[in-house]
C-alpha cells in the first residue's frame, strides 16, 4: 500500500500550492482531484488580487464588518506572497500589481470609504483615501461621477487559468504525486493515520496518509461527510464576463464600495467584469448539484454590466464575448475555514472565501503547520475550523 505523509484532496490553487510547499520541504505528498486540475473556483474566478476590505464585509452591518476586517492581517501577508510568486514563477502567472481603487459616488459611500480606510490603517494595510481630483489623476478612465476612492498600490490581478497548473507542475517536479480524475471513495481512521480509498477510471486503491488536507472549495461540506463531520461551507454561484480584446484602457483593479463590481484589464487586453453577482446553482436530488455549472441570471448579469459601464463609461461600446459562472464557498461568519480540525487529529481544511487572493498564503501557512514547524505567529488562528466545533458535538 502507498503511504504518504500528506494526502491533499482538491486540485485547486490552495491544494496545489500546499503540495508544492510540502514537497519542497521533503514531505511525501499525494494530491487527488476528482475532476480536472483547476476545474473549480480557482480557475473560474476573474483573477482579482484585492487586499482592501471587501465590500461583502461591509454590506451586512457593523458587527460583521468589525469581525471580518480582521482578515486584513492576512491580506498583508498575501501581498508578500503574491510578490514572491511573481519572482519565483516569472511572467507565466501574469501577476500584475499596479494598484487598485475602491470607488465611491454618494456621500454615504464616501463616508463608508473613510471608515474603511481607518480600519485598514489600524491593521497596517497602507490604503490611501483620494478625492475626486486625486482619483482622476490616477485613473482618468473612471466616470466623472466618482467622487472619491481608496487606493492600494499593491492590488492587481493574475491569471487564474494558468497559476494552479504551474504550481502543480512545481509540486510534481518536487516529488509530489498529482492525480486528477481521482476521488476520495472512503476514509478509515486508525491510531496511525488515515486509510484512504481512492477511486478512478483505473479502479480503487488504498493509500495510507498521516495527514489529510481538504482543499475542496464549495464541495467541502460533502467531503466532510467522509469524516463524519460538518464542515460548514456553503456554495454560491457567481457570474463573470469578459469583453473582447481592446487597447490598454484600465490599468488597475477597480472595485466599487457601494455596488457589486470588480473590473480589470487582463494582459491579453480583455476587460474582465465581476464583483459578486449571482448565478443560479442547479438543483439536484438531495441539494445543490455542484457537478453542473451554475446558470447565468440575465438580470444579475445586466446589473453587473450596468455597474461597469457607469463606473468606466468607455466599456459600454465594447462587446462582451463570454459570461461564465463559478461556484465559490462561503461561511456563516464570512471568514475562511483554514487550519486543523481538532476533533479529528491529522485532518486539516482550507475553504471558504477569497480563495484566489488568499490561497497562496493559506497554502504557505498550512504547509508550515502540517510539517510541524513551530514559531508562527498564529496567523491562521482566526480562521480555525474549531470555531464551528459546536456543530460537531455529536459528530467526529
Amino acid at each position: 500500500m502507498t503511504a504518504v505523509d500528506v494526502l491533499i484532496v482538491g486540485g485547486g490553487l490552495t491544494g496545489c500550492a500546499t503540495a508544492w510547499h510540502l514537497a519542497e520541504r521533503g514531505a511525501s505528498v499525494m494530491l487527488v482531484e476528482a475532476g480536472e486540475l483547476n476545474g473549480g473556483a480557482s480557475g473560474q474566478n476573474a483573477g482579482s488580487l484585492h487586499f482592501q476590505i471587501e465590500r461583502r464585509f461591509l454590506e451586512n452591518g457593523p458587527a460583521l464588518a468589525e469581525q471580518a476586517s480582521r482578515v486584513l492581517a492576512l491580506n498583508r501577508l498575501a501581498i508578500q506572497d503574491w510578490r514572491a510568486l511573481d519572482q519565483q514563477f516569472g511572467p507565466a502567472m501574469e501577476i500584475v500589481m499596479h494598484g487598485g481603487l475602491m470607488v465611491a459616488e454618494s456621500d454615504a459611500e464616501v463616508a463608508l470609504l473613510e471608515r474603511k480606510a481607518a480600519r485598514e490603517a489600524e491593521f497596517g494595510v497602507p490604503t490611501q483615501l483620494l478625492d475626486g481630483a486625486g482619483v482622476a489623476a490616477i485613473a482618468p478612465y473612471l466616470s466623472p461621477g466618482i467622487r472619491a476612492a481608496t487606493w492600494l498600490a499593491d492590488e492587481g490581478h493574475a491569471n487564474p487559468r494558468t497559476i494552479t497548473r504551474l504550481l502543480a507542475a512545481r509540486a510534481i517536479e518536487g516529488g509530489a504525486e498529482v492525480r486528477s480524475h481521482t476521488r476520495l471513495a472512503d476514509i478509515g481512521r486508525s491510531a496511525i493515520g488515515f486509510q484512504v480509498t481512492l477511486a478512478s477510471g483505473e479502479g480503487r486503491e488504498q493509500v495510507r496518509a498521516d495527514r489529510v488536507l481538504l482543499a475542496t472549495g464549495a464541495a467541502t461540506m460533502r467531503t466532510g461527510v467522509l469524516f463524519n463531520l460538518h464542515l460548514p461551507v456553503f456554495p454560491a454561484g457567481l457570474t463573470m464576463t469578459a469583453t473582447e480584446r481592446t487597447a490598454p484602457m484600465i490599468g488597475h483593479l477597480v472595485q466599487h464600495v457601494g455596488r457589486r463590481l470588480s473590473m480589470k484589464q487582463a494582459e491579453s487586453g480583455n476587460i474582465l467584469i465581476g464583483g459578486g453577482w449571482a448565478s443560479r446553482l442547479q438543483r439536484g436530488e438531495t441539494g445543490f448539484d455542484l457537478s453542473r455549472p451554475a446558470t447565468i441570471d440575465p438580470e444579475a448579469l445586466r446589473a453587473n454590466l450596468k455597474a461597469a459601464a457607469d463606473t468606466v463609461p468607455r466599456v459600454a461600446a465594447l462587446n462582451i464575448i463570454r459570461s461564465w459562472t463559478g461556484i465559490v464557498a462561503l461561511t456563516a461568519d464570512q471568514l475562511p475555514l483554514v487550519g486543523a480540525v481538532s476533533r479529528v487529529p491529522g485532518l486539516y481544511v482550507a475553504a471558504g472565501g477569497s480563495g484566489f487572493t488568499l490561497g497562496p498564503t493559506f497554502a504557505r501557512l498550512l504547509a508550515a503547520e502540517m510539517a510541524g514547524e513551530r514559531g508562527g505567529d498564529g496567523e491562521l488562528a482566526l480562521f480555525s475550523p474549531d470555531r464551528f466545533d459546536h456543530l460537531n458535538g455529536f459528530m467526529g
Binding site: N38, R165, L166, A168, S268, I320, I321, R322
Partner: protein, 458 residues
C-alpha cells in the same frame, strides 16, 4: 416585449419555415428570429430587395424551397424578426426568455417553447496560409453570390472533399468569374466506390446528386478543370492570397481559395441551454440529440435541421414539420393518433433521405484529407492566434490539461470572439491524436454572438 409567444423559432431556413407553417396554421403565436435581414436561411439567402437580380437560384433544387419560402414570408400570424442575433436562452417558470440584439438594441422575447433550427456553417479547415485574406469558406463565397450579387474576387480555386464545391464553382462561372479549378482531395474511384456501396439507391432521383452531376458537366464543358486526388496543402501569399499549392507541388495562382470540407451544426444555443449533444463522426461537430418528435433533452426546447446533424435542406424541412407536429401534440392540439398519422409519411421520407445524407457524408468525409494538413506553426484558433504547436506544448506540459475545456483555459484556443466555433473540432481532434480524451468540447457560454455592453443594459 410583446407578450408571450407559444413558439419562438430560431432560424429562418427551411426547417424553421416548415415548422412555422404548421404551428401558425394551428393557431399558435409564433415568432421567428434570424441574423439575416430576410428569411431563407443559408440555402436561400436572399439578396436585398434593393438589388435587381436575373434568374435568382435557378434549378429544380431551389424551386420547392423557394415556393415554401414565399409561403412562409406571407404567413399570417408569423412575427418575423430579421437582423436579430439570439444571444442566449434562459428557462423560467413559463418557458423561455430569449435575449437577443438587433439594429435597435436589445430584444427580450418570451416564449413557452423554442425550436432551434439554426442551420450549419462550413467546417473551418486549418492548413498553412489559411488565415490569408482571400482564403474563404465555399459557403461564404456562395453567399456573396447568392445574397449580395458580388463575385468576391477575380480568379477562384476551390478545394476540399465536399461535392457542394461543384455547385459553387458552376455558380461562380455563370456569374462571370474565372474559376481556375475544382479540387477533390479524394480520388474519383473512392467517390464512385462509395456510390456503388449501396447500389439500390436511386441516385438519379435525388436532387443533390443530380445537381452535382449537372454542375460537373457544365464545368467540364466550360473548360474548368475538375481534378480528383488533388489535396490542397498550402495557401501562399504575403498581404493577401496569391496561390494555392497542392500535394503534388502544383501551384495555381488565385485571389480567392474557397475551401469545402463539410459543415458543422450551429448549436450554440442548445449547448448553452444544457441540451445533450452528440459528436458528428466525420466532422467532429456537436449536434443536438433529439427524440422522435425533435425534442431535445431540455424540456420545451426542440431542434430541427442541421442543428441536429448536417443532412441538407430536404431533411431539414421535414424535421421542421416533425418538430411542429410534436409541439402541437405536446400542447394537446393534436391527439397522439393524429400526430402519428401526420408524422408517418414524413418519417418515411426522412428515412429515405437520411440514406442519401449518409452517403453524401461518406463521400465527403474530410478526415483523410485534413489529417496532418496543419503544421506546428499553423494557427488553429483564428481569434486568439493559437498555433497547433502551442496547443501540443500545452497538452504535453507537466500537470497539463486533459480535456478540451481545460485546454481552452490554458491555451486561450476558443476564448476569442467566435468562442471556439472555428477551432473546437480541430482542438478536440488534436487532443485525441495526442492520446487524451477530449470530452464534450468547450463549455458553451452566453452570449452566442458578441454584443455591446450598452446594447445589453439599455
Amino acid at each position: 416585449m410583446s407578450g408571450m409567444f407559444d413558439l419562438a423559432i430560431v432560424g429562418g431556413g427551411p426547417a424553421g419555415q416548415a415548422a412555422a407553417q404548421i404551428a401558425c396554421a394551428a393557431g399558435l403565436g409564433v415568432v421567428m428570429l434570424d441574423e439575416q435581414p430576410r428569411m431563407g436561411g443559408q440555402i436561400l439567402r436572399q439578396p436585398p430587395s434593393t438589388l435587381g437580380v436575373r434568374d435568382w437560384l435557378p434549378g429544380a433544387t431551389y424551386d420547392d424551397l423557394k415556393a415554401q419560402l414565399h409561403r412562409s414570408e406571407a404567413l399570417p400570424g408569423l412575427d418575423w424578426r430579421g437582423g436579430v442575433s439570439v444571444l442566449g436562452l434562459f428557462r423560467d417558470a413559463d418557458g423561455f426568455q430569449l435575449l437577443a440584439t438587433g439594429r435597435d438594441g436589445r430584444l427580450t422575447i418570451a416564449a413557452r417553447r423554442v425550436l432551434v433550427a439554426a442551420g450549419c456553417y462550413d467546417m473551418p479547415t486549418a492548413f498553412p496560409g489559411w488565415t490569408l485574406p482571400g482564403v474563404m469558406s465555399a459557403g461564404g463565397v456562395q453567399a456573396f453570390l447568392k445574397s449580395q450579387q458580388v463575385v468576391p474576387g477575380k480568379r477562384f480555386v476551390l478545394a476540399g472533399t465536399h461535392p457542394l464545391q461543384l455547385l459553387v464553382a458552376d455558380q461562380l462561372r455563370k456569374a462571370g468569374a474565372d474559376v481556375a479549378g475544382v479540387h477533390f482531395a479524394q480520388g474519383l474511384g473512392a467517390m464512385v466506390g462509395q456510390l456503388l456501396r449501396d447500389p439500390l439507391l436511386p441516385l438519379g432521383n435525388l436532387r443533390p446528386f443530380r445537381d452535382a452531376a449537372a454542375a460537373f458537366v457544365n464545368l467540364r464543358r466550360a473548360g474548368v478543370a475538375v481534378r480528383f486526388g488533388q489535396r490542397l496543402v498550402r495557401a501562399i501569399g504575403s498581404e493577401r492570397l496569391e496561390a494555392a499549392e497542392f500535394a503534388d507541388g502544383t501551384r495555381i495562382a488565385c485571389d480567392v481559395l474557397a475551401t469545402c470540407y463539410g459543415f458543422l451544426p450551429q448549436a450554440d444555443l442548445p449547448r448553452q441551454a444544457g441540451c445533450a449533444m452528440q459528436r458528428c463522426e466525420r466532422t467532429g461537430g456537436l449536434a443536438a440529440v433529439i427524440d422522435r418528435w425533435q425534442r431535445s433533452s431540455v424540456q420545451g426546447l426542440s431542434a430541427a435541421g442541421e442543428t441536429t446533424g448536417v443532412a441538407g435542406a430536404e431533411v431539414a424541412l421535414r424535421e421542421g414539420r416533425l418538430a411542429a407536429i410534436g409541439i402541437l401534440l405536446a400542447d394537446g392540439l393534436l391527439s397522439e393518433s393524429e400526430a402519428e398519422r401526420r408524422a408517418a409519411p414524413i418519417r418515411r421520407e426522412l428515412a429515405k433521405l437520411q440514406r442519401f445524407a449518409d452517403l453524401l457524408a461518406r463521400i465527403a468525409d474530410p478526415r483523410t484529407a485534413i489529417a496532418g494538413l496543419a503544421d506546428d506553426a499553423t494557427i488553429l484558433c483564428r481569434c486568439e492566434d493559437v498555433t497547433r504547436g502551442a496547443l501540443i506544448r500545452a497538452i504535453r506540459a507537466t500537470a497539463g490539461p486533459e480535456d478540451a475545456s481545460a485546454l481552452k483555459l490554458v491555451s486561450r484556443a476558443g476564448m476569442g470572439v467566435c468562442q471556439g466555433r472555428s477551432c473546437e473540432h480541430a482542438v478536440r481532434a488534436l487532443l485525441a491524436e495526442q492520446g487524451a480524451a477530449p470530452g464534450g468540447g468547450f463549455t458553451a457560454r452566453f452570449p452566442a454572438r458578441p454584443v455591446a455592453i450598452a446594447d445589453l443594459i439599455d
